[in-house]
Symmetry: C2
Subunit: 409 residues, 2 copies
């Protein structure tokens, strides 16, 4: 007889499944479509030559250890390098504060696994990152959405949310995915004080922090927390779990990221990872270390910034020219995404269907709202397509939007 | 104030923690110790040169896609290659039957996540693989241990266990970790009939299937299941989820393995993996495909077999010579491990403490018994150490055992 598989799955899988949005997004992957829907870095900036040299170097000199099993927390020279890097761009930490993960998605998953009981609440920005919701839905999370504006989460509304008793606060402070907004310094400071007061940890997700195209770098939430606590040691022991990644600085196909946390939390994360996949590929860790160890990232990030800044500027210019005036959008200071708001009565998912006929795509904003809303919003990616493709795509999308507004849906 | 982290962890983390065994095993990692405790392949057989060529080839010709995000199910040419490979060494399958994982540990984790509610029962061999227990403990699994002998699980005792209503049966049929035993053809056939009769799936974990040093290859449980169902299609739609890995054929530091399952189960596993880590490193998948695509594995596995067979033989010879006659052990036909049984009153963990003073190590067998027992058993790895090191290590261990038997602990 056929095995009755569907009766054997666990409760937690019942929320898993294909959504309307996911089905629509599959259509955006057709090769003739100009897609602003994905979240892909530009392959033009991948440092292919540097990877080639690093692979040769690692295999020639460290082949036996780079191909062998290794420790769950990650390759020590890589963790030490990240600690130095992190001290410059985020908070001062020691190697014991760092665990290597297979991409930031894995860090989000492990945080869910370590902290979440079914039904636990998480405070998120509205809108928030879809991948985090996917990771935490598997653990039965519920969400408290705090509204945000062009300066990020409206922290004045945070205290009310904190009184509900959430497990943690999740925030993307720099060039947020999806909205492109950046949390202001003032709000960051208020955030850490409130979180400390209620004893609620903050998960700070910072994949794009170094991809700033204008304005001044704002200290990370973890740094501000460390200063607030007047920490004097090399080790960080505060209230923030900080995530960052090599996906945007080197290449996402590596699946290489890191999580920064107090050592006691890192030890728990290491046990979690040991049961989940033993460790992240030793070879990938050795190669990334070899590519980055001589200060390459500092040079390379300049190339990425120049490339993405041009694309952002082209997209914004074309939107000014082509989009109907009833549509508003963010002007992000960095990152890979911007956010459009249509008139309230327009459904972005309906607009997408028409856009797909015109061979252009974006992500309708509902997917980023765990508690509903955002039907009239849309996320556009500007990092992946070349300036010419952006021009053509925004022209098509402008025509689609004008038509949608005329037809009133 | 300090954040009260320990009060914020989820229920599922409460079983996590350091065990006495794990603390002892840390000691085995000291560099001057001859360790038969690990489960490491011999680095001498890693095909370093082939990896170097493959990295250069992939980066020169496919750099942009090998470094980019890719699909969750895995790189299609790799899955197609595995399907062909699998048809020869295990069951006939299509690419839709296959998902790539970051090592088999991740496949074990995903199977737990997909199937296990807290308190669910799993049928395991006694002893069974420690990593599977670690993965499934996180989901609150309970275990029904079925005893095994030199021909694997004693399938006559299986029906009683099936009547308890387990979620699935977990079995390592070839050169089992830890015992080194191989499930006989007759027992395999009886296993699949019983599992089908009760509608209970089988998880077949087969990392060592091709590492046979004597005797004839026995068809996999999945193959026998497919034959029993008289399957005519290319796709496999039976009752077995089959796991295998590149860790033992190429190198474990890649973290590259695969799971074979009916397409409907693969689709669920893909959703699980998407939330957990998006996908396994594209670069690693392209490189492994490049190394293996021209039939390299068939040649390379001969080198591995010759190397490990010699080491197994040396270990067995030395044990014959050096071990006290009260100790018994398995003579595995393949794989990486053998299993020692001491007189009932001897505690292998106590023996390990003395062995560590003599600078030699093994794993005490209790760790492989989820429901207790096995205090007088031990696992020895023969793949990692060179023949000379094995001779010296078994000499030291023989002296330790003689002493322990004399002292009676």
């Amino acid at each position: 007889m056929q095995t009755p598989w569907e009766y054997r799955y666990a409760h937690r899988t019942q929320k898993m499944g294909s959504s309307i949005i996911r089905e629509l997004l599959k259509l955006t992957e057709q090769p003739d479509i100009i897609s602003f829907a994905g979240g892909l870095p530009a392959p033009d900036v991948f440092p292919v030559k540097e990877f080639q040299n690093a692979c040769n170097e690692v295999l020639q000199n460290q082949g036996a250890s780079a191909l062998q099993y290794s420790t769950t927390e990650g390759y020590l020279p890589l963790r030490e390098m990240i600690a130095r890097h992190n001290a410059r761009f985020s908070v001062q930490v020691a190697a014991d504060n760092i665990m290597i993960t297979s991409g930031s998605q894995q860090a989000l998953d492990f945080i869910g696994r370590l902290f979440l009981n079914r039904g636990d609440y998480i405070i998120v920005e509205s809108p928030t990152y879809l991948g985090a919701l996917q990771a935490w839905n598997a653990y039965g999370a519920q969400y408290i959405s705090v509204p945000s504006d062009e300066h990020g989460m409206i922290v004045d509304k945070l205290e009310e949310a904190l009184r509900i008793g959430p497990k943690f606060i999740y925030i993307l402070p720099n060039f947020q995915n999806p909205s492109g907004s950046t949390l202001s310094l003032e709000r960051r400071k208020r955030l850490i004080v409130l979180a400390d007061q209620y004893g609620v940890p903050i998960v700070e997700d910072d994949p794009y922090g170094q991809l700033r195209y204008e304005g001044e770098h704002i200290p990370s939430v973890a740094t501000l927390d460390s200063r607030y606590r007047n920490e004097k040691n090399e080790e960080y022991t505060g209230n923030v779990i900080y995530l960052s990644t090599f996906s945007k600085l080197l290449a996402p196909g590596l699946r290489l990221a890191w999580v920064v946390a107090p050592p006691q939390v890192v030890r728990k994360l290491v046990m979690t990872k040991q049961a989940a996949d033993l460790h992240t590929s030793s070879f990938i860790q050795y190669v990334a270390h070899e590519v980055a160890k001589g200060g390459f990232l500092d040079e390379h990030v300049k190339v990425i910034r120049a490339t993405y800044k041009e694309r952002r500027d082209v997209m914004l210019e074309m939107m000014d020219e082509m989009f109907p005036e009833e549509v508003r959008w963010t002007r992000p200071h960095g990152g890979m995404f911007l956010w459009g708001v249509l008139p309230e009565h327009i459904d972005a998912a309906e607009v997408l269907k028409v856009a797909l006929d015109r061979k252009v795509a974006f992500v309708p904003g509902t997917a980023f709202h765990p508690n509903g809303g955002g039907k009239n919003t849309m996320r556009l990616n500007f990092s992946f397509s070349s300036p010419d493709v952006i021009r053509e795509g925004i022209t098509r999308l402008g025509l689609t939007l004008k038509e949608a507004l005329k037809n009133g849906h």
